[in-house]
């Protein structure tokens, strides 16, 4: 029997980079293969090639023994390859049923047979134990549920090979455990699975084999039995990585930022932050843990002047900050690493140099009166690119040319450049590779040690646990608990995040 997926010597060049350099790998039925690699290592390109979305310059991809044809995505799908994309490929305004049947609708005459479709979805969700409401509209569902829909969508087509692209990035610890269980069961039933993730402990937990890409090359194939997390990280980055952050005792100082009874509406004008009290001391990292969509985004935006407050106040060193605009908040002494770096963190068509001074473009040394000092900007850019190890051919390339991790480094570098008393970092390592995560974490710790009050908002519980001095758990728009990170119990916090009492 031939392998489910056979990739032989695939090479793909883009102008200036070799995205895939002579890559070969196979996936057999019933096994879970983890595909690891930093951002920009070539994983996405490889997968797109498998789906016929990208045409390799050389090499061959076979599914079930027969080569695929470029552009024939439908053919690849028909041969039993399913993919759960990192960015969900769901139409937000359509129902669960409509999304799942898209592209293969059951018909009655000319029309779609809606009842048959609905029954089929119910049967499918029962068969795999993935409960969904077939009539719910996607945009009303929490992300964990949306992902279920994605998986069902793939399973409906009788997949033999299921590719999961960073499936756990947005899930709670409990949801992750459930998902890993689903993966194991699918493999048991004979489905071949390719799992792409940055989370090494997940790889250790479910993978049968591990394949590591670096800089477009396949640098290693191993299995969880032969190595450990540190070993995997080393293969990915090409040097040894310290996974455990070296954190010294915090020198906790006075309260710098105080949030009192804050209430904030979300975009739909619903009350999302329902009365939050928090105090942030200098020299500490306060981690705000919580499943996404529980008000963290609105909380951060309200503090940083990006969203109006309904009631309550935010005091900076005892002085109330009214509904200030983001610029005024920054002037007042709060720096902000926004959650969505593409939308709020960078102007992607501007150069890296300009992006590095977006918060100080009108101040000395980058401006003299109303004229920009281009040489100072250039000098700053060159220095920062070197200091923060931002991987780019030049500091004057546009920000859009950078990989996710390097974009994030630009944002972090800019926000830390002034040593402001407060740093609010929202999801600072989302979609960022292991090497950059290590770097960003160390920067946050360094800022703390210089006396900054750091608020770290993250959906990654591990990140919160390893960095924070204190942990505030947010659920349903409220802070449900504030714990000392010393001896904090992962499962207990997970339950709090899920909104369970005890």
């Amino acid at each position: 029997m031939s392998a489910l997926l056979e990739v032989t010597g695939v090479t793909k060049r883009y102008p200036g980079v070799v995205a895939n350099d002579n890559i070969s790998l196979t996936v057999n039925a019933g096994e879970v293969v983890a595909l690891l690699g930093e951002n920009g290592a070539g994983k996405s390109t490889l997968l797109k090639a498998v789906f016929g979305l990208v045409k390799p310059d050389s090499g061959e991809i076979k599914i079930g023994g027969t080569p695929i044809v470029f552009g024939d995505t439908a053919g690849v799908i028909a041969r039993g390859v399913g993919m759960v994309h990192q960015h969900f490929q769901l139409v937000p305004v359509m129902t669960v049923t409509e999304n799942i049947i898209l592209g293969g609708e059951p018909k009655r005459g000319l029309f779609i047979n809606k009842k048959a479709a609905r029954d089929e979805i119910l049967a499918l969700s029962k068969r795999y134990g993935l409960e969904v409401d077939p009539d719910a509209v996607i945009e009303d569902l929490p992300v964990g549920m949306q992902q279920r829909v994605e998986i069902l969508k793939a399973l409906r087509k009788d997949v033999k090979l299921l590719i999961l692209d960073e499936p756990t990035a947005v899930l709670t610890p409990q949801e992750i455990d459930e998902l890993l269980e689903v993966i194991r069961n699918l493999a048991k039933s004979g489905v071949g699975i390719v799992l792409i993730t940055h989370k090494l402990h997940e790889v250790m937990a479910v993978a049968d084999r591990v394949v590591v890409l670096r800089g477009g090359k396949l640098v290693g194939a191993t299995s969880p039995k032969e190595t450990d997390e540190a070993g995997l990280a080393q293969m990915m980055v090409g040097r040894s990585v310290v996974l455990q952050v070296n954190r010294t005792e915090a020198k906790r100082g006075a309260v710098v930022l105080e949030v009192k009874g804050l209430q904030v509406l979300d975009d739909r004008k619903l009350l999302m932050v329902k009365g939050v009290d928090l105090s942030l001391h200098s020299g500490e990292i306060l981690g705000v843990a919580g499943v996404e969509g529980n008000g963290q985004r609105e909380l951060v935006e309200a503090i940083c002047g990006m969203r109006n407050r309904e009631s309550g106040e935010v005091l900076l060193k005892g002085v109330p900050t009214k509904n200030l605009n983001p610029h005024a908040v920054h002037e007042a002494g709060i720096s902000h690493v926004p959650e969505d770096r593409e939308k709020h963190g960078l102007i992607s068509t501007y150069s890296i140099a300009d992006n590095l001074i977006l918060n100080q473009f009108d101040q000395a040394p980058f401006a003299k009166g109303w004229i920009r000092d281009l040489s100072a900007i250039a000098q700053n850019a060159v220095d920062t690119v070197a200091k923060f190890d931002i991987r780019t051919p030049s500091a004057f390339n546009t920000a859009s040319s950078l990989s996710g991790g390097n974009k994030q480094k630009v944002v972090v570098a800019r926000e830390l450049s002034e040593d402001l008393p407060v740093l609010i970092a929202a999801q600072p390592t989302r979609g960022v590779d292991v090497g950059s995560i290590e770097f960003i974490h160390n920067q946050l710790i360094a800022a703390r040690d210089k006396g900054a009050a750091v608020m770290l908002v993250s959906a990654e519980l591990d990140e919160i646990l390893s960095l924070s001095d204190r942990i505030a758990v947010m659920s349903g728009g409220k802070i449900v608990a504030v714990l000392d990170s010393e001896g904090a119990d992962r499962n207990y916090i997970g339950r709090l995040m899920a909104g369970l009492k005890e």
């Binding site: 995505t73 439908a74 799908i77 993919m83 490929q89 359509m94 898209l102 609708e105």
Partner: protein, 287 residues
């Protein structure tokens, strides 16, 4: 009623994510072609067919520019408008007559129903065809695979693509069909409703249709209702002018229907939601 049909052109395009502001140009050129082709061949049927073909050709040009060349769709639509204005002005010759027109064919029985009989069942062939198009489009859009796929392409093209639906193909097909509907509408205007053609014949109907499409929330029946509302306010305005009960210049009264649409649009603007991927060229393999 031609407005409702013209709005279908917009719906067909925009539901798959192509903004078509070239409807005006399509109507202008197809009505022009219908008129002269009918005169030249002495057959209004041939005129109608050639107008449909012209509509499809213009649409394919729009698809080529916006889907294949990934041009800005507002510019692509504007090109169609300018092209139509230019061509029709250049080739316009005064003083031609149509051999005949599509005649009113009241449907026996139904046309005797008070009010509705007059509104719906006393028309020529092209108008009936138009009604069929509107109803068919409604059912097709919401109850067939084609409709589901089209809407998915307009909302989230990469979701459709990864489900094995060809975004490019569907956009081409739908825009082409939209062109045919445009040809039908242009033919109706000249061959059934008016009977003659002059410069600037369509007088902004294509743009009004876009507004009605938004007002009708990209739903064929909604656009039909919007067109009826517009038609009623136009009739009301005419009545006011004829009665002479109000002492305001007729130009202002003539504006009334447009002002009403403007007001309704302004009020509902915050609530309507266009297809999410509207106006964006689709790059395979991105996102």
């Amino acid at each position: 009623m031609p407005l409702a049909l013209a709005a279908m052109v917009g719906i067909m395009c925009e539901r798959t994510g192509i903004v078509n502001i070239g409807i005006e140009g399509t109507l202008l050129l197809t009505s022009f072609v219908a008129f002269y082709a009918a005169i030249a061949t002495k057959s209004i049927l041939i005129g109608f067919c050639i107008a449909m073909a012209t509509g499809v050709a213009m649409s394919l040009l729009l698809a080529l520019m916006s889907v294949t060349w990934k041009m800005d769709q507002i510019i692509a639509g504007t090109i169609l408008n300018i092209l139509a204005t230019g061509l029709t002005s250049f080739f316009y010759i005064q003083g031609n007559m149509l051999p005949n027109m599509f005649k009113q064919k009241p449907i026996p029985g139904l046309s005797n129903i008070p009010f509705f009989g007059d509104v719906l069942f006393k028309h020529g062939v092209l108008m009936y065809l138009g009604f069929v198009v509107i109803l068919t489009l409604y059912f097709a859009l919401f109850h067939t695979s084609w409709g589901l796929r089209s809407r998915a392409v307009g909302e989230h093209p990469s979701a459709a693509d990864t489900a094995g639906v060809s975004v490019t193909k569907l956009r081409y097909i739908n825009v082409a069909v939209a062109g045919a509907i445009g040809g039908l509408c242009g033919s109706y205007l000249v061959l059934e409703l008016v009977g003659s053609w002059n410069r600037g014949f369509t007088a902004g109907k294509g743009f009004t249709a876009l507004a009605l499409m938004i007002f009708g929330r990209w739903n064929p029946l909604g656009a039909l209702a919007a067109a009826m509302f517009f038609g009623l306010s136009q009739a009301g305005a005419n009545q006011l002018m004829i009665d002479g009960t109000v002492n305001i210049p007729p130009q202002f009264v003539g504006i009334l229907p447009y002002v009403m649409v403007l007001i309704v649009l302004a009020i509902s603007a915050g609530k309507v939601r266009p297809p999410a991927a509207e106006g964006q060229p689709y790059e395979k393999g991105q996102g």
